[in-house]
Symmetry: C2
Subunit: 347 residues, 2 copies
């Protein structure tokens, strides 16, 4: 079974964008607020909207995508907390409907109603709802709700602790994923995303978060930002700070996905990061949509790169494509087992 742990709903029906326009127009002119949160999107329209993802999934040999709202669309920096709550609820509900309509292809992960300067504990209600009511197996956590100005406290600050307590209690991992950038210095998918990954990992080195939350699990997307490429720098910084060896210190709790869009990058990832910490992902349809003229295949067809990495055993490949996802997302494993898919290898 091939599980892609990182897919966003980037092909939403126009009705969702129309709602968002009205919702944000309502900030300036209350008369323009949407009259209802009923988007009027039929099941048929929803299924049709994910046809591109299903086509790529099939063509590339994927089975199941862990599916969440568009990351850039979360835009926690826009509007008020109330706007964020309304928008988040709508976006999560759409994911839930898609996962209910196409349960063999998609399993849900949610966004949180974060808002800059607002305590993360305010997100607990939605977190509980999406996990216990909607059956989601994880959540995307934005380390910078300001959208590129980084004005909230670092992830190791106690500010975030109530949310971490709930994540542990529910036994769901968080993917640390920024949203769009309103800072003209940061292109969102080319700088802000990658910087967000790098920044979060370095914060985890600085703190000692997993001493307080030994069962908390974070997935750092986009191949861990700059981290694997600079693994020597991070090992050295960790050592200079008098911490335990980096792998021992963080890799019981931190995982990287394979959203790295060329073979040499994936080879490096597989070389420096233990296979137990690598989860297959492509983020299609996402940041990079084109076909690489050097290969003739889509840049984001990351399964091809993983398939080409030499020196991985059958067991290693099982871990990357399925086993680690089951371990990191226990509710996914439980769901699959309930469906009579227990996994084929011991871990």
């Amino acid at each position: 079974m091939i599980i892609d742990i990182h897919g966003h709903y980037t092909t939403e029906p126009q009705a969702l964008h129309t709602f968002r326009d009205k919702q944000l127009a309502g900030l300036a002119d209350a008369a323009r607020r949407p009259a209802s949160t009923d988007l009027g999107i039929s099941d048929e329209v929803l299924v049709k909207s994910v046809a591109p993802q299903l086509k790529f999934q099939k063509e590339r040999g994927g089975d199941l995508t862990i599916f969440s709202p568009r990351a850039g669309g979360m835009a926690h920096h826009i509007g008020t907390e109330a706007v964020s709550i309304e928008w988040t609820t709508l976006c999560n509900d759409l994911i839930h409907r898609i996962c209910t309509l196409l349960p063999g292809s998609f399993v849900g992960v949610g966004q949180l109603p974060q808002s800059p300067g607002v305590a993360p504990k305010n997100c607990i209600r939605e977190l509980e709802r999406i996990v216990t009511k909607l059956g989601f197996v994880g959540v995307n956590l934005n380390p910078d709700p300001s959208g590129g100005y980084w004005t909230d406290p670092p992830l190791i600050d106690k500010y975030w602790y109530p949310l971490y307590e709930k994540l542990c209690e529910l036994d769901v991992p968080a993917m640390i994923h920024v949203s769009s950038s309103c800072n003209p210095n940061f292109h969102h998918t080319g700088a802000h995303y990658i910087n967000g990954d790098t920044t979060a990992f370095m914060q985890l080195i600085q703190g000692n978060l997993f001493k307080d939350f030994p069962t908390l699990k974070f997935v750092i997307p986009h191949g861990g930002g700059a981290v694997p490429y600079h693994w020597g720098r991070y090992r050295g910084l960790c050592q200079d700070m008098g911490k335990p060896a980096l792998a021992e210190y963080l890799l019981k709790n931190v995982y990287f996905d394979t959203c790295v869009y060329h073979l040499p990058g994936i080879e490096l990832l597989a070389k420096v990061i233990p296979v137990d910490n690598i989860l297959f992902a492509s983020e299609m349809v996402g940041a990079v949509k084109g076909i690489d003229p050097q290969t003739g295949h889509h840049y984001d067809d990351t399964k091809r790169y993983v398939d080409q990495v030499k020196g991985l055993s059958e067991q290693d490949r099982y871990k990357i494509f399925e086993g680690n996802a089951r371990r990191v997302y226990p509710r996914l494993d439980a769901l699959l087992k309930k469906r009579g898919k227990p996994g084929t290898h011991k871990l």
Copy 2:
């Protein structure tokens, strides 16, 4: 000849720090301002202060280091433009004295008296002074004078153009190097530096800066931040934006150094970035000071990694260690030629 293009003066005498304390104390209490900019540092103390660099240079087989003030020390976000000017002048003068005392070991690169919200053209006077009067061969340009809040315009904005005009006129490259971070989200050497590199490169993809400045040259330090690891992502983003192929678009003007502190990272760099765009550097004594228990050598002894990369010809190695530095820093080449060292290979 082995030229290390990225060394900072991180072993400054205490007198410089004492001055800085007084200078910044003077912001709160004018009575505490330093009485004089005469630091009272003797030549003997200066030479002794760089003994660690000279020892490493010799042990590791280096010949010449392109030497600039401590990057984290520039701290353009602290105090006023006047403070930045006074501090910059002092720091550059110290570099000049060291390069004059030890001309065989160090060649100077300067910092600029940047200040958040202040037009970069105000730095032209100091840029002219360090190049024409002090004989510096390049300059460090901070893309984020705010120190981690990124409140100034991106590097492709016309805001920066007067400075670029002067860089072209003087024929000196700029290393794009942030300084310390006052944003608690960004560890300075573990997040802010790497993010700065990644961000700057992505800005260059977004703009078309080298159309306006075909001879402008930028060095992106720390192995280019996240860029080589995500080279497929950047090629794909460039392509999706309808730009020319990435290498053709930017690599006539943009170079990467080898400050990547483990062999797999350097191997990746050498695999994806053309050899003409890679310049040897270690940034010692810098961000990572320890010895890697996996190798028994210092993390920042990057020459060992480059030496171990397979498949580089003698010509390739000459380019990385010497030839590219002469090409990117024409004033360095001229200086060395004047000293009877013309370089041993054609490029």
